[in-house]
Each structure stands twice: as C-alpha cells, then as structure tokens.
Symmetry: C2
Subunit: 469 residues, 2 copies
C-alpha cells in the first residue's frame, strides 16, 4: 500500500500544495468578529474539497458561533467508523510586523510552507481530505469515515459541546482521529496520548472612574495597573508554584507507563533553549523541563494592557487595567473547580479600593487516551511503516478541548497523530509547516485507516471465537 500511496502523492503533490495555499489565503481568524465572512468562506472551502475528495455528502451546519463542516464516507455497516476531527479557524496573526512574509499569502521557503494556519490546523486537517481522496480513488477503504471540522478551536471550541450533544447519533464512531499536534522531529515520530486542560480568563481592574493625572492624584488612589501587577505577582511563589489554595490537590501522580514513555524522549535542553531563544529555562522547582511540559499544570499571563502605550511620557493613572490569564491543567484537576478557586483567590487578593471583573472565556478538561488499544497499535504500525521507527507515546502541554468532549459524550477515544513540529511557530509570527510533514501525513493516514480496519475486524473475529468456544 505504501508504494502505491507514494506514487499517488508524487503525481499530485503540486496540486495538493496549491489547494492548501488556496485554503491558507482565507484569513479565518475565529476570535475576531471582523473575519465573520472569512469564516464562512473557509467552511465553504472545506465542504467543497470534502465532496471533491469523494465524501458521500458534506454539510455546513450553523451553531451559535462559527459553523461546523460535517461529512461522511460510508462503506459498510460491518466496518468500524472513524470520526476525523480538525479545525479550519486560525490564531490571529498579530504582531503582523514580525512576519517575514504576509501571514495570509502562503509561500514555500526552505521546503516549508509559511502562512498562518499552515500547520495549525489547516495544513494538518487538509492532509485528511487528501488521504480521503486517495482512499476513495484507490477503492481501498475498510472503515467508514466521518469528518467534523470546526471553526472555534482557537477560541475554546465554545459551540462544539452543544453540537456534539445534539448530534450523538450522527457522530457515533469507534474512534476519533485528530492531527493537530507535533512530532518530536522529522526522524522521531510520536503519538500524543495526554493533553492538558485549560481555563482562560479576561480580567479588568477598575480604579478611578476616569484616567487621572499622576501628579495631581498620584499617591492618593489605587492605580489599577499597580494593583493588577501586584496580584499577578502573587499568583506564583519563588519556587514557581501556583499559589491558588488547593490547586495541586487533585493531580494524579504519573503512572509507571507515563514515566517509561518519558524516558524514551531524547530531550536536549540546549537545543530547546536555542530553538526558543531562551537565556535559560525556568519553571516549577523540582521538575525537569520535560516533566513540566508533560505532567505539571501551568499559569501564564497571555496579554496585559492599560494606560499609555504610545511614544514618550504620558503622566496618567489609568482608570482600568486588563489582563488575559490562562492555566493549563493536568489529569485529576477539574476545570470547573479551578475556575472557581481562581476567581475566589483573585478576588481575595484584590484590595477594596478597586473593583474587579473576571470572566472565564474558555475552558476544557485534560485528557489521557489509552495506549493499549488496537487504535494505538494501528498508529504505531502505520508510523513504523512510513518513518521506519516506532513512534514515542507522549503527554504534551497543549489542549484540544474536543478530546475530553468525545470521551464524555460519544464514549470514543482519540488517536492524536500529528505531523507538525514544535518549532513550527504555530501561535507565533512566521508559522510554517514542512512540505515533508504535509506529504508524510498524506502518506501515513491512509495506512493507519487501513491497519485500524484490519485490526478491528481481527479483534471482532477473535471475540467471536472466544464467544463460540
């Protein structure tokens, strides 16, 4: 099968890339309401390419937020069903001035595709559409396929839970397959089995009812920026422990498997530092960088603003100061519980001379998927076939809200088979995706589907045998 796929890729890769470029040219930034029409355009693009690739049908389904694109390729009731998930929305491109080429005018440089969304997740979800095209063209399908591509992943998948709950029957599947993660490097494939949860807050501190003069009023009123900074400064202690009461209480201790998998990762801290331009790493005391990424919850201020940020000196005490603060959660922690304890704690740190408004604008639970399933086995076999190396199971710091939703509402586990790299700058300027990685995904995914179909039937057969004996 591998040889045949590679022949197909060789004859079609220029078209694949050119189609992806068309997709990347649509600035489908879900967080900015000015891009509403681009969101619709991107959804339309996805729908038409699913149909062209051979889906039985594809629908654009409205939600309270951005639409979902849903498609099916049905083969037989005897066969297992794989639900493929991805997202067509992208992060904002700011700071735009740091891009070397415009974020929505894709180009190839050094065999990498540069554009916002090149990797996260347009490039990776488009691999699945091209894998479908191959599987249909080669008449090689031993699974039923369903496709769910949402437009709100970058804003916390706000409408998706409702959509899943209301469409349980439609979405029913034996397995969810997602490509929205990275491998260790192009020679070291990996499969993600653990994701962090997230809670994300919008915070505003209000002091005086209007901007004041820092001379006339300085030293007599609470300055909301000073107050906000003071509170943020207290959210972690000198050991970089998060100080929210009870924050660490429910965390599950990593298992023996977790530790064994972590040992397989060949992590070079010097390379990590140079890759991200760090003077030194810095994190929770008592844990290695890899443990911090894999097993520990984190807290970061993602944005802060207030007062004068232009040229020169403006001597004001601003009326308001704002911050965006998020936490990544690990298995055992509950997003809801963390939200409540964060809000309580933040309020307890706020002096009575100012008012505070805290909104949790996105959250999801962490997820651990089994590594002893036939799906995981199929993923290992497929990657071994195309990379020549067994993939390393990994827990990572990122969050994919849907994974826990699929577990909860569809009772379906996910396989996280991503082909990006951590160096792809997916939330930064100059996001990119290797041409190698894009084509490697298109090569590996049909093999995975095929192997999963075979193993699924084999297992069913052996279960039948057991029953008959």
């Amino acid at each position: 099968m591998k040889k045949e796929i590679n022949r197909y890729i060789d004859s079609n890769k220029d078209r694949f890339i050119s189609e992806l470029f068309d997709f990347l040219r649509i600035p489908s930034i879900s967080s900015n309401s000015l891009h509403q029409s681009d969101m619709n355009k991107a959804a339309g693009f996805v729908k038409s390419h699913l149909v062209a690739a051979g889906a039985d049908f594809a629908d654009i389904i409205q939600t309270n937020g951005h639409p979902v694109v849903y498609a099916e390729k049905f083969v037989s009731e005897e066969l297992p069903t794989v639900l493929i998930y991805g997202h067509y929305d992208v992060q904002p491109a700011d700071p735009v001035e740091l891009w070397n080429s415009p974020p929505f005018e894709p180009i190839i440089k050094d065999n990498k595709i540069y554009a916002r969304g090149a990797c996260d997740d347009k490039g990776q979800m488009f691999m699945h559409i091209k894998a479908l095209e191959y599987l249909v063209a080669s008449n090689n399908l031993n699974c039923n396929l369903k496709y769910l591509f949402e437009g709100e992943e970058e804003i916390g998948s706000v409408s998706l839970e409702n959509f899943i709950v209301n469409n349980k029957e439609k979405l029913k599947a034996d397995l969810v397959l997602i490509s929205d993660t990275a491998m260790i490097d192009n020679e070291t494939p990996s499969i993600i089995y653990g994701l962090k949860g997230i809670t994300y807050f919008d915070i505003t501190i209000t002091g005086p009812s209007k901007d004041l003069h820092s001379g006339i009023n300085g030293g007599t009123v609470s300055n909301p920026i000073n107050v906000l900074c003071g509170i943020i400064g207290k959210l972690k202690d000198e050991q970089n422990k998060i100080t929210i009461p009870g924050f660490y209480d429910d965390i599950l201790t990593p298992s023996e498997n977790d530790k064994r998998y972590l040992e397989q990762v060949d992590f070079d801290v010097e390379q990590y530092k140079s890759e991200f331009g760090l003077i030194e790493t810095s994190g929770e005391d008592g844990y290695s960088t890899l443990e911090q990424i894999s097993f520990r919850p984190t807290l970061d201020v993602n944005g802060i603003w207030g007062g004068h940020n232009g040229q020169g000196a403006k001597t004001i005490i601003p009326s308001k100061a704002h911050a965006k603060i998020s936490m990544r959660l690990v298995p055992g922690q509950s997003a809801e519980k963390v939200i409540n304890s964060f809000v309580d704690y933040f309020k307890s740190l706020t002096p009575s001379s100012v008012s505070v408004e805290i909104n949790a604008i996105a959250s999801c639970e962490s997820a651990l998927t089994p590594t002893d399933s036939i799906a995981f086995k199929a993923a290992e076999l497929a990657m071994f076939e195309t990379f020549g190396k067994k993939p390393i199971p990994m827990r990572i710091g990122g969050s994919i809200p849907v994974v826990s939703l699929f577990e909860k509402h569809l009772n379906a586990n996910s396989i996280l088979m991503g082909f990006g790299l951590n160096s792809d700058d997916i939330h930064s300027p100059n996001e990119h995706f290797g041409v190698f990685n894009f084509l490697k995904g298109i090569e590996t995914l049909p093999i995975f589907i095929n192997k999963y179909g075979i193993l699924f039937q084999k297992e069913e057969f052996s279960q039948l045998e057991t029953k008959h004996n």
Copy 2:
C-alpha cells in the same frame, strides 16, 4: 484698574474665546511625531497673537525638539522684568472614544470650554497674551515683559534646559510667572509654591525570542509579563512605601510654614472620592491624602502592554512585555540619584532568565519657591482684589520642569498663579476649562503685573533710603 479691565473683558470676551478655539483646534501633541506640522502651526499661532497683542517682536526659535516661541515687550530699564512661561503642546487625546465631543473641536457646555489643552496649557497661556493685549491697549505697563512658550512640556521639556543655558542674557528676569496649575475651587484661590519632581521610565522585558505557545512551552520559560508584574508588585510594600533602597533618605521634613499652609486647605475626602470616582482613597500609610499630595513622593505605572489584547483567547507567551513607570519626587530628593537607584533596584529584581532594558525618558527636579517675596505679596493682593479672598499657598503633586531650571540657570524664582481646577480632567478625556476661569485669569494677571511693578519700585526705593541713611 479692576473696573477698567472688566469693561475691556466684557467688550472683547467673545473674541477672546473664539481666538482660543482657533488655538485649541490645532492638535499640537508633542509626544507623537505625526503631529510635527501641528506643532509648527501652533508655534506660528502663538507668535502672531503675541505680535497682535502688542509685543515688540516675537520669534519662533528652533531647538533639537519642538520650537520655542519667544517675545518681548520692553518699557524701560528702570522697571522690573517678568518672564512669562507657558506651553503650547498638549497631552495625547487617547482614549479618544471616551470623549463626549472630538478633542480638537472645542465647544462650550455648561460654561466650560471642552477640548484637549483647554486648560493645560493653551487656555492658561492664552490668558497671558490677552492680559498683554489689555496692558498695551490701556497703556498701563509698569514692568518689562518677556514671553517664553515651549512645545515640549508634556514630554519633559527635553530641549528647554539647553535653550535657557544658551539664552541666559535674553531671558534675564526678576521673576518668572507661570499659569499652568489649579486653584482649590472657584471661590478659593490658591498660589502654588511647591512642585514635585519627576522621573519617567520606559521598560521592556524580553523573554523568549518570539511569542511562544502557552501549551507547548508553558511552565518551562519565564513569561515576560509575569516577570514584569512580579517586579512591579515589589516596588511598593503593603504600607504603600516605595521599596527602592534609600528612596526616602534625603527628603526634607515639611517646615512649620508648610504645615500651617496645609491646615488652611479645606479638604473634603468624600468630595475628592466622588470627583474622581474612587471607591476609597489609597496611599502611603501614616499620611493624610493632602499630605500625600503635598509632601510625599509617589510611584505609578502609567502604562503597560504585552501579548494579546484583542478579543477572545490567544494562548501565547509573548516575547516582550513593556511598562511606563514614573515617580514624583519631593524637595531633598535628586532626580539623578533616584534614576540610578531605580535602575539598579529594578535590575536586581529581574531574574536572569530574561533581559531588561530601562530608559529614563524624562526627569526634572522638585521646586519650592519663596512665600515671603514681594512677588508672592503681589500675587496675594491681586487675587484678593479679583476673588475677594486671600489665596492659600499650596504644594502640589504636579511637576513643572522649568521652575527648577529657571532657579538654577537664571537665578529667578517663579510665581505659579494658575486658574484651572483639579476637576478639569487635564490629562484625561473631556479636558475642560471654565469660561469663568479663563476670564478671571485675564482679569487678575494685569493686576498682578501692576502690583508687582509698584511693590518692586517701592522696595528699591526703601533699599535706596536704607543705603542713604
């Protein structure tokens, strides 16, 4: 004299206001280089109005920054010379969306002139030009007058010291007169005799070389916003004392006069709170609000920014975080010493995992002017004549860099006779200046000049008498 002035004002006030409106329509924002041509336009406006009012000549003199307008009205070598200082530049208007009417389209509402610069300082400096017009028209001048109007007060008067040093002979004067401050209220005139100094810093913390993903990298790198907030949180302690080592060491204890004057101020903390929309006041422990304003140094963050500040959730660790931080200094403190100790202290609080850049972008020394001079006496008499009440001497929290420069280089004390109110929102949206205040200034200033001329000659005469006896 008062009756005659009021007649003149009555017949001309509509024109005075209409001329001031023309001045206010020029967006002469000194901190923004996009307004360079507006700065030149404003300087031209000032020059032409000085000449029209009766100055012997008026020049626009280039500096390394924005130009200075200088004019003279010479009467006689026998008479004292008063140097009148003001500034034609204004603060930025942002946040523009909070203005009820456009900041550079002046209007009168409830007998107040609304526009950026209406009070600070275009309205107040224009009173002096109209006072000159009256004094020349009525042929009533017993002082020589010099005018120095700069365009960089709102950015720390960066070019002015050089200008003064290079023009000592030209600027030579017995007294400096400045209207760039506020009175207690329209029934309670006051004269400022103490000003705070200022140091203003632009600070940037750099962590990773680019924005990172808060999931992939969270918990392993120093987030520059968290770091910046942590440092800012340490700049004051729980008692709101500034923690810079040695910061309070050189402060001069308020004199008996200082305390006596302060007691004359009828300060209503409830009114202060409601005026500025405060839940409660907040400042250095152990001092009343009025003492904090008058006698104590302060520290405020005037602006902060970094990371995502748009809609929704962007899960990044930004590469950089920025802040503008300023301190107000009191007599005894040296701006240079504070700059050095702040920079050292800030760096000592910065962890080695990030880099920090600190630039002092503006500074000036505090100033105390004598309250036992004939100039102060003349000011008291003039205000008593026009307000029917003796003005209260006050030390305030604002900074006027030139006052200490005039002392240092011209050996000249200043009289700070301002006609604004603290509620004029001079650095906020909806800055305004009462029509009452504008006209009261035009009424009082010629009387002050006249009384100063008389007292000066009287003192010279009595000194001569003493000498001859």
